[in-house]
């Protein structure tokens, strides 16, 4: 009881609480006002289908098995499809992508009515969300820590 007498222990809390009347609320009227995400905020993933070479590294690294390689009409190789209900937005697929075909945006509002709508096919994944600046997340020098070759990369998760 560091140097506080009984009376102040009883009375001070009341006035400390009362003082908060003048504080501004910290909450926001969410659907009406939205907070902007930060540059690095990890959100929906966008696929640049032109750059994708179908190597499947993203599907291999994904810790949640959220990525599967799917065939796309008019393309010779498979492209990633993401089940966003499984995705934990860790960004490992974006980081491992050798061609920088996968990019992360800071769009975090993904709620849908149905499970199926959250399974993004490669075509749906390549539609950029309605946002001016898509931010390639965490631009920094890639060091060979998790390159597929060193970690015993195999193609076992890739569907034919």
């Amino acid at each position: 009881m560091a140097g506080k007498n009984f009376l102040s222990r009883v009375v001070t809390p009341f006035f400390v609480v009362l003082k908060h009347v003048v504080n501004q609320p910290v909450t926001h009227k969410y659907p009406y006002e939205r907070l902007k995400g930060f540059d690095r905020t990890r959100g929906r993933i966008v696929l640049d289908i032109e750059r994708c070479i179908g190597c499947g590294a993203c599907g291999w690294i994904c810790p949640d098995s959220a990525i599967q390689m799917k065939f796309v009409e008019g393309s010779k190789v498979t492209h990633p499809a993401i089940d966003f209900l499984k995705c934990s937005f860790c960004g490992l697929c974006v980081e491992i992508c050798p061609r920088e075909a996968l990019k992360m945006t800071n769009v975090v509002e993904l709620a849908e009515d149905e499970y199926r709508e959250l399974v993004y096919t490669p075509e749906k994944l390549s539609i950029e969300p309605n946002l001016k600046d898509i931010l390639p997340m965490m631009k920094y020098e890639l060091e060979p820590v998790i390159t597929p070759r060193k970690m015993g990369y195999s193609r076992r998760r890739i569907e034919k």
Binding site: M1, A2, K4, F6, S8, R9, V10, T12, P13, V16, V17, H20, V26, T27, G37, F38, D39, R40, T41, R42, I61, C62, P63, D64, S88, F89, C90, G91, L92, E95, M137, M138, Y140, E143, P144, V145, I146, K150, M151, G152
Partner: protein, 381 residues
């Protein structure tokens, strides 16, 4: 004798009358205070006869999951173990992997890790304080204040790592990204703000006569019992055991920073809450020092192709106390066995044993339990 008494174990009945006029009161899993678990409280009127923690409602088998994922993949599910305190948890595993591979991350990475871990400790302690106040019968004022004060910290963490809770930021060999521009100023202003708010908590909460009445001398954990039962974290330190992994076995940048550890000898619920407020102050101090002494350089080193060690036991001071990882690997890129011993798992045992050494009233059960800051997700794994 007390804890050997046989009683009928009714998992789903609300309250069951037992022999000798004892009641079984189930606090949870649907109870305002319980969380993702259940406290089975056997009472004799208002006097508590026995507490038993029923955990496992959110057991996800993290240890098994880690066995089936490579080291880097394992970090992401491991974070889900305690969402409040992810970086401290992950640090133990990352450190184990680094020791297995025999690499030492660059100092800048260690400082960035320290900053993030201390911020994480702050938000975890703030949440714990809110829950403690709520369990002692506050209307949710303190809880909402702490929740509000976590926001600026979460913003900083989001700025640095890209997420509010599951950072996925520490990887074996370093961290995933350097500090972004402009974050230092923001960190410093936030620390000033937090210091002011801590003073508010002290005035409104710690130095509150009603709170003192409720918690002083309640749930006393003596030093010998704290060691014998294996208490962890601030709960151990206020019982007179000055053990803090950050100090005793320095990891990350803690060895180079100067800070004190919060200890006391009373070991009651009041001091356990007080210790968390004091630890927030210590964390603020540590972050200030880390920002000042931040070295330049790389943030990551590459891992060698194969692990050099076979097994390792790492200990890390998470917000709830020491968490240790025993990792055994057969020389592959994934562990063969991971044993996680989280702090809450040990603290739950301490809570169960408390009624054997003192009289506890029914109304004191929630404050005692929340003074230990247990987290069912932590204990369940």
């Amino acid at each position: 004798m007390k804890d050997m008494l046989p009683y009928r174990y009714h998992p789903f009945n609300e309250i069951v009358e037992l022999e000798g006029g004892l009641f079984q009161v189930n606090m949870g899993p649907q109870h305002p205070i319980s969380g993702q678990g259940r406290f089975i409280v056997i009472t004799d009127g208002e006097i508590v006869y026995k507490i038993e923690m029923d955990i496992g409602y959110s057991h996800r088998g993290i240890e098994k999951i880690l066995e089936n994922r490579s080291f880097i993949q394992g970090i992401i599910p491991l974070e889900r173990m305690v969402m409040l305190d992810t970086s401290n948890i992950v640090m133990g595993y990352v450190m184990a992997v680094e020791k297995l591979y025999g690499v030492e991350p660059p100092p800048r990475a260690q400082y960035i890790r320290t900053i993030i871990m201390e911020f994480n400790r702050i938000i975890s302690h703030l949440y714990a304080l809110g829950l403690f106040a709520e369990s002692a019968g506050w209307n949710p004022a303190i809880f909402l204040w702490t929740t509000a004060d976590r926001e600026p910290v979460l913003d900083i963490l989001e700025m640095i790592t890209g997420a509010r809770w599951s950072y996925s930021f520490f990887i074996p060999g370093g961290v995933r990204a350097d500090l972004p521009n402009g974050v230092k100023e923001r960190i410093l202003t936030t620390l000033d703000y937090l210091e002011n708010r801590v003073r508010v908590y002290e005035d409104a909460w710690i130095y509150n006569e009603t709170f003192r009445m409720r918690t002083e001398g309640v749930g006393v954990l003596p030093r010998s019992k704290a060691i014998e039962w294996g208490a962890a974290g601030p709960n151990l330190r206020v019982s007179g055991v000055p053990y803090d992994t950050r100090k005793n076995e320095p990891y990350a940048a803690y060895g180079e920073l100067d800070f004190k550890i919060v200890t006391h000898t009373a070991g009651d619920s009041y001091r356990r809450g007080w210790a968390r407020v004091e630890e927030i102050k210590v964390s603020i101090d540590i972050i200030r020092q880390a920002i000042e002494n931040m070295p330049e350089g790389r943030i990551r080193v590459a891992l060698p192709p194969k692990p050099v060690e076979e097994e390792v036991l790492t200990r890390v001071e998470s917000a709830r106390g020491e968490i240790n990882f025993y990792v055994y690997t057969e020389g592959r890129d994934r562990p063969y066995r991971v044993k996680i011993s989280p702090a809450s798992f040990r603290n739950f045992y301490v809570i169960e044993m408390l009624p054997t050494i003192q009289t506890i009233r029914f109304a004191d059960v929630p404050p005692i339990i929340y003074s230990f800051d247990p987290w069912f997700l932590d204990a369940d794994r």
